[in-house]
Symmetry: C2
Subunit: 617 residues, 2 copies
């Protein structure tokens, strides 16, 4: 199979045109001079985690943010890197394929060659397994030609998503040493970037000169934090899915006789479902985060949907579209507990047909209550990350089944007097993942690829490439890098009262913020979405003309640009220092002290309370 | 609900831009002068059907083709219609929603108003039920504004797909009389156009002045015959599905661990599956027509797929994409027979749980062999057209299940030595049907709408609007109309030896021609598609720039333009008549006679043999 990687292939007319598209670079990355400005040392979002994380990452925690600046930027203490010795860099796809991934490789390759044509980029073939086995393909312009701006990860392929066990880490270390790599770039989501941080730390400990860089590429859009606004692939995935959801809405409204239950991708976090809802205005969406927060049972969810169906029937409406993320099933506390029991028994080697008899009484009761097709699916062996095989569990069918049962019950009781309830179920699983990437994802990935080079040129280890201010046009984007350890959190739980266990530091998936602006927008419109059929169709992904520059709504609604604000704050502090220099008038100094005293007091109070809030979550 | 029809609604940016797109008209339809040329009286494709059809349609069979010509065309005996009294026309969506349907209404409305601003177009609300109940909405430019070039049928809605029973026909007659309609335009597929022809005949018999016109709009693309090259919606459906299939191919090739089994729409005919295969190059497709022609059993199909999986495993390939149309299940002779038995019992009122015990022994054996989820789905009540509820029968899961079983068997026997077989199933059912229509479908539907006006202005009844030469740009399109009765065939079957039953004349779905060019193209490439992963991604539907004018491959490959050729033949015959006028030299006459004698002999022979071939099918 290896011989199949990187071979040129037949492209459709549109693919050919796309392969000729040249993403723009923001001004700071144009030209060949790299200017880096370092900010203050980083901490973590939750101060209570800082100690644990700093202990786990003594060589890579606490390092400063890096801002990459225009050659002409007037920042006195920015470093200018003028020497660009040839570099050997390895790059690996790690984690599920996400549209735009290829452009990270292209961007990095382009940046390497611009700064020194002797530099070499090696792609690892077949993902992390190719890394362990040291199987590489030297990236060239001709190899890239049919993969530029194209979807999938098929230029290099992927395998397992892990670089975690001692054997795996040692194999990666051996590969980097043998291949004399100056840098290793890992393209992936939360898991892969956690692994990248761990690898960077291990390399530092073992004096391996290879610097490890992470790139936030995941269609789930759940690698979000102070430094990272969105992930490569999320824009495309949401657009392709929204197109399809809108088509279903139009279809429902035309035939007026079906409820479409659509299961979307999205594991621990429901970002895709939220964005698609804001794009398409389906009648209803059930986010995993809502269910988890309000601890809804399966029956309660089914009753909520039935209430909606009934309210619509009273307006003589017998159609609708209901979205749910595939991770919903794990968000329902009782089902989650049942899954835990089943997975525990499976891992003990209990045969599938004997599991139901070994469940605890209440888990058994729930299991027996479920229809046979779902029981069979819940009994599947869990995935490598311990989650259930969500792509195989037909939650949409389960809910349609329960709603139908509830409608029948209400019909018998005489409380539901409408027509028959007809549900048709769809799973929007893999049909978006291999899509041609949107212009946004092409640009974002390409720019991140360039930043990877600048991180390596600055000699940074354990950093993630970041772009902020993404809701604005490319020429306003701000490029930087942040230590991956600063994005980590530590999970705490109480196995028994009085004792607290803490987990390993990791980047955890950011779930939908139920107090955030995007969710607020959904809640404001939820009633109208439900009853008024104000369906909206963003249409198919466009590459030319109107619509080609559309961005996801959540990105535009949220007011992010953390990196920009951090930089602005630095400038203010610098100004105060410049104004209040030794020798300045006493009154100025007094005023400055008085103001700063109250400022620090307020900030300290806020910081403590937000830390408490975070811990309470 | 009625008050919801035709209301303006919020459009996305792309929808707004699309709503401003003005489809082009071919030269023959520009301006306000209508020129009609009538050809010879029509017959049917199979001469043996002609008598039966002419008896069933005494008032609408045998009428000539109509060609609509440019005002400046030099055709001596073309009629010029100069008077355009105001007209009252009704229009109804009948059958499953298909992208572009709204543009038929727009085109007709535009043509009506251009020729006489006093003309009125009434849309029937809620499909055929709205027709029976005489619920109408007067179409205006402002009502159309948010529906131009938009998907779905939600401007008017649809309900049942039938205008067939005596009550229904009488209700339609009453509606046309009461509303004083000069014309009734029926938008739909094979069933609805058959109903349109029947309605036209009935109206003629009952001296109802309303002329009935049919428009070929069906995403199945199975209303194909000498006069009709393709249907409104087929282009869009194939493009949207091909995009998704290609995404799945890219995905499969990136992860290299899954076989995706994808069920596509397509009932009796597999046109969508064929076109999508030519667009996307998935590894395998199983057309219903192939299975029916070779009388493959379910096990044989599963074995064919398993052989393919095994051959790929021997090349270390463990991924792939396999397409199948939803109608496949009914094409398998043994399953079809089983379904017939089940439906017969259901219609007799036998309870679902008792059906399995009342099946004939062999049907029972097949039923028991099937996995429980499919058994449950086969037991669903049939649809109004007697077919099974194909959208609910998960043939893709059944095949994945059988292939897995076969792989396991071969593994035990030691004949399969590859890795585990992993299948993931998808149903691409309704996610394309509500799509924004492609440029082609926007244009085609709009032009057909215009032609409907011209048919009514020419006073024709029981005709279908036609456009030929569609593979060329709009300015080369040829516009015409053909009697619907000329598109009908009669089914014959032998209930017992010696006796032959014949069915009612109807337009039957055109199945994929296994001797046609499009299928030949598939067969030529099948082996390469299967083994070499030469996946191709036509990309998302584009409205601007490259790709916006792409047409379906089957349309371009097939050399159709029957109407153009009929017209050309007429011209040749006319030339012969002009050259060989009474008074011409004896030698010229002799030569003409001799040549024409051999020509007619050859044609007669061809005609008989093709009729025999047709009857044998």
């Amino acid at each position: 199979m290896d011989s199949d990687y990187g071979i040129p292939r037949e492209l459709s007319d549109l693919q050919k045109i796309r392969s000729l598209y040249q993403p723009e670079l923001p001004p700071c990355l144009q030209g060949t001079t790299v200017r880096v400005e370092f900010g203050d040392g980083t901490t973590t979002a939750d101060p209570t985690d800082a100690l644990t994380i700093s202990r786990a990452f003594p060589n890579t925690y606490g390092y400063p943010l890096a801002h990459f600046l225009r050659a002409t930027a007037k920042v006195p203490d920015a470093q200018i890197i003028t020497e660009h010795p040839p570099m050997r860099v390895g790059i690996v796809f790690c984690g599920r394929q996400s549209p735009g991934g290829h452009n990270v490789i292209w961007g990095l390759h382009n940046a390497l060659k611009i700064h020194n044509p002797q530099s070499v980029l090696l792609g690892f073939l077949g993902g992390s397994e190719g890394l362990f086995a040291q199987k590489t393909l030297e990236i060239t312009d001709s190899i890239l030609s049919t993969y530029k701006n194209q979807g999938g990860y098929d230029l290099l392929g992927r395998t397992k998503d892990q670089i975690r066990t001692i054997e795996q880490v040692n194999a990666a270390l051996a590969a980097c040493n043998n291949l004399k790599l100056d840098g290793l770039v890992i393209i992936g989501g939360v898991t892969s970037n956690t692994d990248a941080a761990q690898l960077a730390e291990t390399f530092a400990v073992k004096k391996c000169p290879t610097k490890v860089v992470g790139v936030p590429v995941t269609l789930n859009g759940d690698l979000k934090n102070q430094f990272v606004e969105t992930n490569v692939g999320f824009d495309t995935i949401c657009k392709v899915n929204s197109q399809l959801i809108s088509n279903m809405c139009t279809d429902a409204l035309s035939a007026e006789k079906y409820y479409y239950f659509i299961r979307l991708m999205g594991r621990k976090a429901s970002h895709v479902a939220l964005e698609c809802t804001l794009q398409s205005h389906p009648n209803m969406v059930i986010l995993g985060e809502e269910v988890a927060a309000s601890k809804l049972t399966l029956s309660e969810i089914a009753k909520q949907i039935t209430d909606a169906v009934q309210a619509r029937a009273e307006q003589d409406k017998y159609h609708g579209v209901i979205l749910l993320p595939e991770g919903l099933i794990e968000s329902i506390p009782e089902v989650y507990a049942l899954l835990k029991e089943i997975h525990g028994l499976l891992r003990q080697g209990v045969a599938v047909e004997k599991i139901s008899s070994q469940l605890t009484p209440w888990a058994s009761a729930l299991f027996e209550f479920l229809p046979p097709f779902i029981r069979r699916e819940l009994l599947l062996y869990p995935e490598s990350d311990d989650s259930a095989q969500l792509s195989q569990i037909e939650t949409e069918k389960l809910l349609a089944y329960l709603v139908e049962a509830e409608i029948n019950k209400r019909t018998k009781e005489g409380t539901y007097k409408g027509k028959k309830f007809n549900a048709i179920c769809h799973f929007f699983g893999y049909q978006a993942r291999g899509s041609l990437p949107s212009k946004f994802d092409c640009d974002y990935a390409y720019v991140l690829g360039h930043i990877c080079y600048h991180i390596l040129a600055a000699g940074l280890n354990g950093y993630m490439a970041t772009v902020t201010n993404l809701k604005n046009p490319v020429n306003k984007w701000k490029c930087g890098a942040a230590p991956i350890a600063a994005m980590m959190t530590v999970k705490r739980w109480s196995p028994n009262p009085g004792a607290t266990s803490i987990g390993k530091p990791a980047i955890h998936p950011a779930t939908v913020d139920l107090r955030g602006k995007a969710y607020e927008l959904l809640r404001q419109n939820a009633q109208s979405f439900l009853m008024d059929d104000i369906y909206r169709n963003p249409g198919p992904l466009q590459f030319d003309g109107s619509g080609a520059d559309a961005k996801v709504i959540t990105l535009s609604v949220e007011d992010q640009d953390y990196m920009g604000r951090i930089k602005k704050l630095q400038e203010y502090l610098e100004q105060v220092r410049t104004i209040v220099k030794p020798g300045c008038p006493q009154e100025v100094l007094k005023a400055a002290l008085s103001v700063m005293a109250s400022v620090t007091e307020v900030l300290a109070a806020m910081s403590t309370s937000s830390s408490n809030t975070l811990s309470a979550l």
